[in-house]
Each structure stands twice: as structure tokens, then as C-alpha cells.
């Protein structure tokens, strides 16, 4: 029972952060989603130890674990798009698959290139130290 109350309390804290961020976004006319501002605020609050991880950990991990359930109703909306899929399903598939692969290769290649550069710089330093 005590655990259940604590757990609901944790979710309530996350909800409060979300509501405040949502309010801040509409008040300041920020062009970003309230949820993203909330995510940033929570990350900084955790980093600066304003909120301890323990205070929200269980509730947060529960919500992220079942994130799928929360947007399931949007995917079900696909039932009204039968005509679109019939008409341009193949084109959609090409667009999605190709852009995903291109993006993945670009990310991986960029990061690997930077890691290599970094290692070379470190090596040069070691070398000059040895000399």
C-alpha cells in the first residue's frame, strides 16, 4: 500500500513538471513541445541534484517502459488510412526504409570518424611526451 502511494506520488511529480513546462511554453510562446522542455528541465534538475533520482526513478521507469501503450491509440488511427496505403504504400515504404538507412549510416560514420580523429590526437600527444 505504502509502495503504491509512493509510486503514484512519483508519477504525480512528473505530471507536475509536465504541466508547468506546458504552461511555460504557452506563456512564453516557445516553439518547442512542453514535454521536451519538461525533459530538459528534469535532466538539469537531476544533474544539479535539485531532484534526487530516487524521488522519481520507479515512476519514470514505469512510464518509459509502457510508453508504447500510451501512443498505441495514434497507431490504431492507421485504420482510417486504408486508401492511402492502397494508393501509395510502396512509395511510403521506399521513403521510410531509404531515409532510415541513410540516416543511420550518416550518424554512425560521423561518430566513428570523430572517434578516430580523437584517438589520433591522443596518440600524437603520447608520442610527443615520449620524445
Amino acid at each position: 500500500m505504502k509502495n503504491a502511494v509512493l509510486f503514484l506520488g512519483q508519477i504525480l511529480i512528473l505530471w507536475l513538471i509536465y504541466i508547468c513546462s506546458q504552461y511555460a511554453v504557452s506563456l512564453l510562446h516557445l516553439p518547442i513541445p512542453g514535454s521536451v522542455l519538461g525533459m530538459l528541465l528534469l535532466y538539469f534538475a537531476l544533474s544539479k541534484k535539485i531532484i534526487s533520482l530516487k524521488l522519481i526513478e520507479k515512476g519514470a521507469l514505469f512510464l518509459t517502459k509502457h510508453l508504447t501503450f500510451l501512443f498505441l491509440p495514434f497507431v490504431i488511427g492507421l485504420m482510417s488510412y486504408g486508401d492511402l496505403i492502397k494508393a501509395s504504400g510502396i512509395q511510403l515504404l521506399v521513403m521510410i526504409v531509404a531515409s532510415t538507412l541513410i540516416g543511420m549510416i550518416a550518424t554512425g560514420a560521423a561518430s566513428q570518424f570523430l572517434s578516430k580523429k580523437e584517438r589520433e590526437v591522443v596518440k600524437e600527444h603520447e608520442h610527443s611526451d615520449a620524445v
Binding site: 512528473l14 505530471w15 513538471i17 509536465y18 506546458q22 516553439p31 518547442i32 513541445p33 512542453g34 514535454s35 521536451v36 519538461g38 525533459m39 530538459l40 528534469l42 535532466y43 537531476l46 544533474s47 533520482l53 515512476g59 519514470a60 521507469l61 512510464l63 518509459t64 510508453l67 508504447t68 501503450f69 500510451l70 501512443f71 498505441l72 491509440p73 495514434f74 497507431v75 490504431i76 488511427g77 492507421l78 485504420m79 488510412y81 501509395s88 512509395q91 521506399v94 521513403m95 521510410i96 526504409v97 531509404a98 531515409s99 532510415t100 538507412l101 540516416g103 543511420m104 549510416i105 550518424t107 554512425g108 560514420a109 560521423a110 561518430s111 566513428q112 570523430l114 572517434s115 580523437e118
Partner: protein, 227 residues
Amino acid sequence: MNILTLFSLCLTVAVYIAARKFAEKFPSPFTIPLVTASAFIIIFFLLFDISYEEYGTTKSIITYMLGPATVALAVPMYMHREIIKEKFWNVLCGILIGTCTTIFAAVSLSKVLHLSETIQTASAVKAITTPVAIDTVKILNGDPTLAATFVVASGITGAITGSAILNFFRIHDPLARGLGMGTVSHGIGTSQALNEGSLHGAAASVAMSVAAIMTSILLPLVYRLFV
């Protein structure tokens, strides 16, 4: 609350739980709960002639918690903060380049293939995790269902082909592989990256949140330039 709302709410919860159990037994990118559960519910609704409009109230009830759940994504990011601290520029540049490339590729392919403007808008957000994609596409006046579907399809594509494609292009660095999968395939890619190793998984999880933050801030500002 009327009977149909109560019924469809219970149905969604029950199907979701069953789909999770099914995915545990037969783990594969094709059996992820989202795919099996939504397919089942769509077929059920079509068979019994229930329209998506009638599902509206249930949809509002369930999706109400999406906001707090998105806020909660800060927690996995915080747990892997060492990667962000140690490899700050690498992580930032990798994800920025990857995200921009995906958006550019998706929008220009949609144009070349003569897909409608609604689809172009939804395709622009396909490289971010679903809850943020839904929020961002609303800012761009796009369609949340299309956005969510494109994100999920991208996730599955990346999870299925990721390992092979990255091998083919000789991307073997664990950080680079994790970032690649997390940036374009979000949650689904992250669980696949975890199969490769814990550093892969952590990098993917960081990439998912960072890409979401970056895209949701940049996209509304630059979207008009793309289209």
C-alpha cells in the same frame, strides 16, 4: 463514460498485455507489442464496424499520460550521462548530422515520389521518438497518426537491418553503432542495440533522447526551408 468507451479501454489494455507476453515468448522486431497490438485492434474494429471517431474518448484517456512519460525520458538519459560528458562533441555532432540527413532524405524522397504535403510533414518528424514526434508534428500542423506510424516503421526498419548495414559500411565503433541505431530507430533500435552490448545500448538510449530534443527545437525553425 459510455459502454463503448469502457469496452474499448479494457480491450486496449488487455490486448497490450497479451501482446507483451507474446513478444516475450517470440522476441523479434516483427512481434513488438506495438505492431501486434495495433494490428489486432484495427482488425477487430473493422470486423465489428467500430469507427476511429468512436474510439476518440478512449484515445484521449490513454494518451493523456504521454506528456509526463516524455518528461520521464530524462531519466535514462541521466543514467547514461557519463557518455554525454566524456564524448560530448562526438555524440552531439553524430546525432546532429544523422538527424539532419534523415529529415532531408525523408522530405526529398517524399517530394520525388509525389507524396502529398501531409506526408512530407509527417516524414520530417520520423527521426524522433514517437511521443515527441506527435507533439512536434502538431506544431507543424501535421497528422499525428501518420507521424506515429512513420516513426514505428522507421524503428522496425532500423532494428531489422541495422547490424548488417553498419557492418557493410564498416562502422564497428560501439559508440557509433549505438548512436546510429538510436538516432533513426528510437526505442525499437535501442532494444536491438542492447543486444549488441551495453555501451551500444547506452549510446542508443542517449541518442534517442538527444535527437528528440534537437529535432523538436530545430525543426519548427527550419521546416519552411526544407519544403
